[in-house]
Each structure stands twice: as C-alpha cells, then as structure tokens.
Amino acid sequence: MLRGFTLLEVLVATLLVAIPVAATQMLMLRSAAVVGVVHSDAHARYAASHFVARVSAFHLGGFWPDSAVSPGQWLRNIDMELSADDLPVSPPQCINRWCSASQWADFESAHLACVLNVQLLGDFCVDVVGIPHHAVTDRSTRFTAFNVRVSAGDDFAVAIEWPRLEVNQTPSGMHRITLGTVLRNGTP
C-alpha cells in the first residue's frame, strides 16, 4: 500500500522551505533599506558639498573687508542651525537683487533646506531655487525631517542629520554626515 504524506510531514516540509524563504525576504528588505540609506547618504553629501561649493565661491572670490571677514576666518554669517520643523517663513530673496552678507546666509540656509527636501518645492522653494514651477524634480530622495548645523569660524563644517528608518519604516535614531573640518570640541 502506498501511503501519502501525513499532515505533520507536510507542515514540517513547508516550515523548512518557509524559513529560508522568509530569511531571504528579510535579507532583501534589509538590502532595500540599506539602498535607501545609501541614497539618502548620497543626497545629503550632495547637498552638503553643493552648499560648501557655493559658500566657498563667495568666500574666496570676494575681496571682503576686514569688518566682514577676519583673516583666517570663514564668513561668520553662515554659522547657523536649521531644522525641517523650523524653516524660515519668508527667507530673503537674493535672486536678481543684491543681498547683504547676513541676508545671503539666510537665503543659502533656505536653499540648502530646499535641496534636502524638494517636496517643498511647490509652496516654499519656488522662489528660493528660482526655477520654473512646472520643472520636473527628482522626488526619489527627500528628507521630511532633518537637522543641519553649519560651523564657520577657524574651520568650516556642515553636518546633516536625518531619521534612520528600520525595515518597517519606523524611525530609530539619526543618520549623520559631516563635511569639512570638525571643530576642536568635536561638534560641528
């Protein structure tokens, strides 16, 4: 007499197959999360290097009087802290008009926020970024929450933080990148 599998055998076999499948699935989900982190990291680094390039161009390209920049010092107006929850309501507009150094620093911080979160383009960043409203933007990487700290004194450093998301999309701590020289007290 040929006997089929018992229910217990089928369950055990299924369990044995399901374990590696579930493990592989977890691996893939974790890989997706890692790719997301890499995307975010690359985007944050791009935003930071973009900010540094703009600041450096004006810092090095302008013959600033001593009252604006002391020898060996960075433009002190760009020393700032910024958070996604605390964006300037109406930043100064420096497109097609001259801005003082402090106005320009505020404008640059708003611009950095817009680079970090292009989702804001519609209601906040159109004037700041200054490109047509219908422009297609890359919405694949954006930070809904972030903190930015720019230190400008003897050294110049930009630090960007954003929430670390677990596989199930729940935040757990913050990712952080730093570009530039870390200040002596270690808190750029």
Binding site: M28, A57, A68, C94, V129
Partner: protein, 333 residues
C-alpha cells in the same frame, strides 16, 4: 496458482489538499514579493549609478572648461588684449577671449547657436570662451616678423592659419600664425598680414579701441622669452534633440560643441538647462546676488555659475537604447 495482489492507494483528504494549496500559495506570495522587491532595487541602483556617472562627467568637464575661461592668466584683465585679426571684436564670436562665461537665455535667437538644429524649447545655454590650451613658450624674444617657440608637448602643433593668443603678465594678442615650421620640439612662426577675415591685419586694436603700435603687442617692449602661446578652448553647452530621438519619442540631451570640433552628446535625457550667475560686489561691505542672464548688473563680479539640469523621468527613457561612455578617458571630437 497465481495470487493477485491488490494495491490500495489512498488520496489526500480535502482538508489536506486545501492546507497544501494554502501553504503553497503563501510560499508563492512570499517568493513573488521577493522578486517584486528585487527588480526595483536593481533598477534603482542602476539609475543612481548612471546619475552619479553623469554628474561626475559633468563636474569634470565643466571644471576643466571653466578653468580655461578668459585665460588671461596672470594678466587677469582684457583691457590689454589686442586683436590683430581682420575681424572686429564684435564679430569674433567664440574666438573672443571674453566674456569668459556667458549665459544665453534664448539660444534659438543667439548668433552663436545659429548652426545648431533641434534646440530644446525653454532651455538656456552656456557659452564658454577662452584660450586655455597651452601650445608653446617663446624661446627667444619676439622681433621683426618672426618668432620661435618651444612646443609644450610632443603632439602640440601650430599650423599656418591657426588663431592663437600670445600673452605674458602685461599684455596679450590674438593673431593668425603664418608660415609655421616645426623642428626639434620647436616651432617657427610669423604673422604676415592677409586679406581673409581670420588673417592678420596690419595693426591691432583693443576692445576699447586703443590701437597697438608695438610688434604684435600693445606696448613696448614686445613679448619676451617665456611668453606663452595658447589655443582657443571655447565651447557651447546646450540642450538639443538626442541622436536617439525619433518622431514618436523625442529625447533630448546635453550637448557640447567646441570651436572647431563636432558636437558631442554628453548626457542623454537632459530636457532643460537653467543657469544663473552668482555675483559679488564690494558695496556696503560686500553684497551677493544670483542673477539671470538678462539681469546681471554692470558692477557685478561673477564668482559662481549655478548649473541646474532637468532630466526626463526615468520611465520615459526606459525604452530608449542607452549610450555608454567608452572607458579610458574623454573623447576628443
């Protein structure tokens, strides 16, 4: 006598079958999700890598181009640049050394882009002018109507008819080299006058109208040993239809066209280009502004070029065959 042996086969019960089907379906769903996550993940990685590759290429290319703009070097001014060609300053086009960087708001109406077809609508363009390619260094003082220079590299050449800039830290001149002869890593050249638009005139003139009176220079003494000879490195950067474009699926791309070379498709999928000057002036302790092409104040000193390219959605490019850059260096058109 034979004994018939009967075999009893018992199938699965309905409950067992249903359970097996449910478990199988669950496994299939799991595997399906696995595959569903895998493909976008891979596509996303490929897109990211392509974008980074394009951005690295553009950073390198634009950096190199902008380093050679104007290229008055230690002279640092265009006031003492003399044009010895028969063409007036206003008509020199890409052979003029200034303005080094010029944003063109409407390239379709700009003379520099007259020969370029299929320009994108609503896209700006960039003209980069300069003499940034070192050719040779004067090996003896310039005198009479002939000069001798040591070539900068083994493959450097100055042929008869080539427009070159000679400059030191006091002055610079544009002229057409004539009767060139190469030997032993050196080149002999002269600057005889001619009739053509790019031939030499008997006298040179600066942009503000001052006429040159010295030997191929604005002021005496003329160019001495050590002065450099440079080739033009001007380029147009613009958005036009890609080579992969078709009537039913238009695709745009970022292009570069050098002064004497063919146009080169740089990045496929770029639909528009927006550019802005970042400028500085000394008033009120230093002021900063970002200006569109038509709004740059006369007293502005441009220190930055804001470059914003807008790409087509990746989905639109999925069915377009992709071009790949050859490995191992930048091609020369």
């Amino acid at each position: 006598m034979s004994v018939e042996r009967r075999t009893f086969q018992r199938g699965m019960s309905l409950i067992e079958l249903l359970l097996a089907v449910v478990l199988g379906v669950l496994l299939l769903i799991g595997l399906g999700r696995l595959l569903a996550y895998g493909q976008p993940l891979q596509q996303s990685l490929v897109r990211q890598a392509e974008r980074q590759e394009h951005m690295a290429l553009l950073n390198h290319l634009l950096g190199e181009l902008l380093q050679g703009t104007g290229a008055q070097g230690c002279l640092a001014t265009t006031d003492t640049v003399v044009n010895f060609l028969n063409t007036p300053w206003s008509s020199l086009g890409l052979l003029a050394p200034s303005p080094g960087v010029e944003i063109v708001a409407e390239p379709k109406r700009a003379p520099a882009f007259a020969s370029i077809r299929d320009l994108a609508e609503d896209s700006q363009a960039l003209v980069v002018r300069g003499y940034g390619a070192p050719l040779a260094t004067l090996s003896e003082d310039l005198a009479g109507e002939r000069g001798r220079a040591k070539l900068f590299a083994a493959d450097s050449r100055i042929d008869s008819g080539d427009v070159v800039m000679i400059r030191d830290c006091r002055q610079a001149s544009l002229f057409s080299a004539t009767s060139t002869r190469h030997s032993g890593g050196h080149v002999r050249f002269s600057w005889q006058a001619g009739e053509g638009g790019l031939a030499n005139s008997d006298s040179g003139v600066t942009q503000d109208g001052t006429v040159a009176s010295a030997t191929l220079a604005l002021n005496e003494p003329s160019f001495a040993e050590g002065a450099g000879l440079y080739a033009p490195t001007s380029s147009l950067i613009y958005v036009a239809e890609s080579r992969l474009s078709s009537a039913d699926r238009p695709v745009y791309a970022l292009w570069q066209k050098t002064l004497s070379g063919n146009a080169l498709e740089l990045v496929t999928g770029v639909e528009r280009l927006y550019l802005r000057y970042g400028a500085w002036r000394a008033d009120h302790g230093g002021e900063i502004g970002y200006f569109d092409a038509d709004n740059l104040p006369l007293d502005a000193r441009v220190v930055l070029l804001a470059f914003c390219e807008l790409r087509a959605c990746d989905e639109r490019l999925e069915h377009v065959p992709q071009k790949h850059w050859p490995r191992g260096g930048r091609g020369r058109p």
